[in-house]
């Protein structure tokens, strides 16, 4: 029942989001097709404009609701039109070839950072008052306050360019024939190491501080005192009583960031020339590639919604108060 309610809720939000996605470009002066015409600087025939309008679904002599229905139908089938940054590839294909890289790169960085950061947060809160535990937040606040692009560039320059320990671009080596074998996997991991490290180093502090704060406030709860009075082993008090409760807000933030994984870290993919969706979005924006942009926005929205939906379900398992 709870799950069904949430599903209906998210479906209606999804509908609102794709409708906005449809309306926004149409509220701007001109349309995607005329923008392409302008870029071509008179080298395209009027028939081409017609073709583009049909391809983009922005034909001006069709009523709006007709365009809207066509848009909905196309969206549901995954027909997003043709990208002209990567002309003549269809947008769906561009996304299919870039999205997996982003999911892999940003996804694993987010998970690694969440796990390590949360663990460090628990450690620094539980062992509060000891030197090492008290040094952790200071160190990570320092690191977290450095601008991301700077950290990424510094890592790339020192470890990649000067020392040459890591590759400085792409997702796998040119000499590698793409295929699912150990060598390819090794190469992929090797190429991902630096971008992942840059993301983890800069986002770890946020997870650590968040968890530390949650845990410290949970530690003053009466049920923690009672658990200690019961003579439970310390490990059990930390996991089942303190961390179980302190994790709840942390999981919400995790859901949000998982949703944004798909949007990619645009800066990361630009700095490390990584062929992900963030890089494609950057290309789309600089080339006024409306079909590609629209599709990427749609995918980001979908991912955020799906992540939130999954977390809602998980949350109802973790916190029994939610489902009632």
């Amino acid at each position: 029942m709870y799950v069904l309610k949430r599903a209906v809720f998210y479906l209606s939000i999804f509908w609102a989001a794709i409708t906005l996605n449809f309306l926004l470009p149409r509220m701007m002066p001109g349309n995607a097709a005329t923008a392409v015409m302008a870029r071509a600087q008179g080298q395209m025939s009027p028939q081409a404009l017609k073709a583009l309008e049909i391809a983009f679904g922005v034909s001006s002599n069709q009523p709006l609701w007709h365009q809207y229905l066509a848009y909905l139908w196309n969206t549901l089938r995954g027909h997003f039109g043709i990208s002209f940054t990567y002309f003549p590839e269809p947008v769906s294909q561009v996304i299919a070839s870039t999205l997996p890289w982003t999911l892999f790169l940003i996804g694993s960085a987010t998970i690694i950072s969440f796990v390590i950061g949360t663990g460090l947060g628990v450690l620094s809160a539980w062992r509060r008052g000891r030197k090492v535990a008290d040094a952790i937040p200071v160190a990570f606040t320092l690191i977290a306050s450095m601008p991301y692009f700077w950290v990424a560039l510094a890592l790339l320059y020192v470890l990649g360019f000067v020392l040459g320990w890591f590759p400085i671009a792409h997702s796998f080596s040119d000499e590698q024939s793409p295929g699912f074998n150990l060598q390819t996997i090794g190469s992929v991991l090797y190429h991902a190491a630096l971008p992942i490290a840059s993301l983890v180093v800069t986002s770890l502090g946020g997870w650590m501080l968040g968890m530390r704060n949650n845990l410290i406030s949970v530690l003053s709860e009466d049920y923690i005192t009672l658990a200690q009075m019961k003579g439970l082993p310390e490990r059990e008090v930390v996991t089942n009583y303190a961390t179980r409760n302190a994790m709840l807000p942390q999981i919400t933030s995790f859901a949000m960031s998982l949703g944004f994984v798909v949007g990619g870290a645009v800066v990361t993919e630009i700095v490390f020339s990584y062929p992900g969706i963030g890089y494609a979005l950057y290309q789309a924006v600089t080339n006024s590639d409306y079909p590609l942009m629209q599709a990427i926005f749609l995918i980001i929205v979908t991912a955020v919604l799906i992540a939130n939906f999954l977390i809602d379900i998980l949350y109802s398992r973790l916190d029994p108060r939610v489902s009632n």
Partner: protein
């Protein structure tokens, strides 16, 4: 003073908190003891140090949060000296707690059953699920709750039910002593009476000892065997409940008893106690109650009266000491 009858003995215990202005002594030189099967009440208003005393004596509050001096024995073991592991093994099995706010004493994300099982698993070497389940059901029956409540989460229970769960939890391992810190504060008056009656009945049937901490002296005088009245971190008066009920001698306990209306009889204007408790950062040189006392003499402001035993009761008061003839100094 040691004898086999004593479950809990607190001897000359002082407790201090560190503050930016130095150590603040919240409890000064307090002694009390609880015998097997006895219900001893510890009374005093907010800030009198009653919770601090008990939590520090059982090491729930421990350094660096507090500094504790004196001697505490529970079932013959020196609680302040044993290792953390020994203390952990003693907890719940030898003495358990019913905490101030049962509302927040239960973990919101675990079922009641889980929160009972973990206590059993931590202390019973041969833990078996079936036996633990049987014991959980038994303690729930004892506190007059349906055993189906074992599969509830705390938020699905009412305040009174949660308080019963917390009591059931305290009974789980059949401890010799249960320390109850204001077990009824969060409840309405009717539920309070029910819980107190339940505690008293169980205590008589099952034979455990209770140290009951409350600000409600009139309630304590009804149910307790022995009563200790604390003020400003010191014992003002102690003795058998029936003696104090008949006649509270210390001006403070007298005033405390008079601040509760009788249930029967004509309506009379209630006398509160004027003033507020002393600032423990700068404790007065004399009796902590002197500033609010209606019968205080000059000496009360200058030096602290010693706790003097007369018959079965002990009183720390210069005025009372002058009135009573025989004085036996308590050691």
């Amino acid at each position: 003073m040691n004898n086999e009858q004593e479950v809990l003995s607190i001897e000359n215990v002082s407790v201090s908190y560190p503050t930016t202005e130095g150590w603040v002594q919240a409890v000064r030189d307090v002694s009390l003891c609880v015998n097997k099967g006895q219900l001893v009440g510890l009374a005093g208003e907010s800030g009198s140090g009653k919770s601090t005393l008990v939590l520090a004596a059982t090491r729930v509050l421990s350094p660096p949060t507090v500094r504790v001096e004196g001697k505490v024995e529970i079932s013959g073991r020196k609680v302040l000296d044993i290792s953390k592991k020994e203390l952990r093994m003693m907890r719940w099995k030898t003495f358990s707690f019913v905490t101030q706010s049962a509302m927040n004493a239960l973990n919101p994300v675990l079922r009641i059953r889980t929160q009972m099982h973990d206590a059993i698993r931590a202390h019973v070497p041969k833990y078996s699920r079936a036996e633990a389940d049987a014991r959980c059901a038994e303690v729930l029956r004892i506190v007059e709750l349906s055993t189906s409540k074992l599969d509830s989460y705390p938020h699905q229970l009412s305040g009174g039910q949660r308080q019963r769960i917390v009591i059931a939890l305290a009974l789980l391992l059949e401890p010799e002593l249960i320390i109850m810190d204001e077990p009824t504060t969060a409840l309405d008056v009717v539920a309070q009476r029910e819980i107190i009656a339940l505690i008293r009945r169980l205590q008589r049937e099952l034979g455990f000892a209770v140290l009951l901490i409350t600000h409600d002296l009139s309630l304590l005088l009804e149910v307790a065997d022995e009563v200790v009245v604390l003020y400003g971190g010191r014992v003002m008066e102690s003795g058998p409940a029936y003696e104090l009920l008949r006649e509270a001698r210390h001006p403070y306990s007298k005033a405390l008893v008079q601040s509760f209306p009788p249930l029967h009889g004509p309506v009379v204007r209630q006398e509160g106690i004027p003033g507020t408790p002393p600032n423990m950062l700068h404790p007065p040189a004399g009796c902590p109650f002197a500033d609010r006392c209606s019968v205080a003499i000059e000496r009360c402001h200058l030096d602290m009266p010693r706790l003097v035993q007369t018959g079965q009761r002990s009183i720390a008061c210069h005025v009372q000491a002058n009135l009573s003839g025989t004085e036996v100094e308590r050691t």
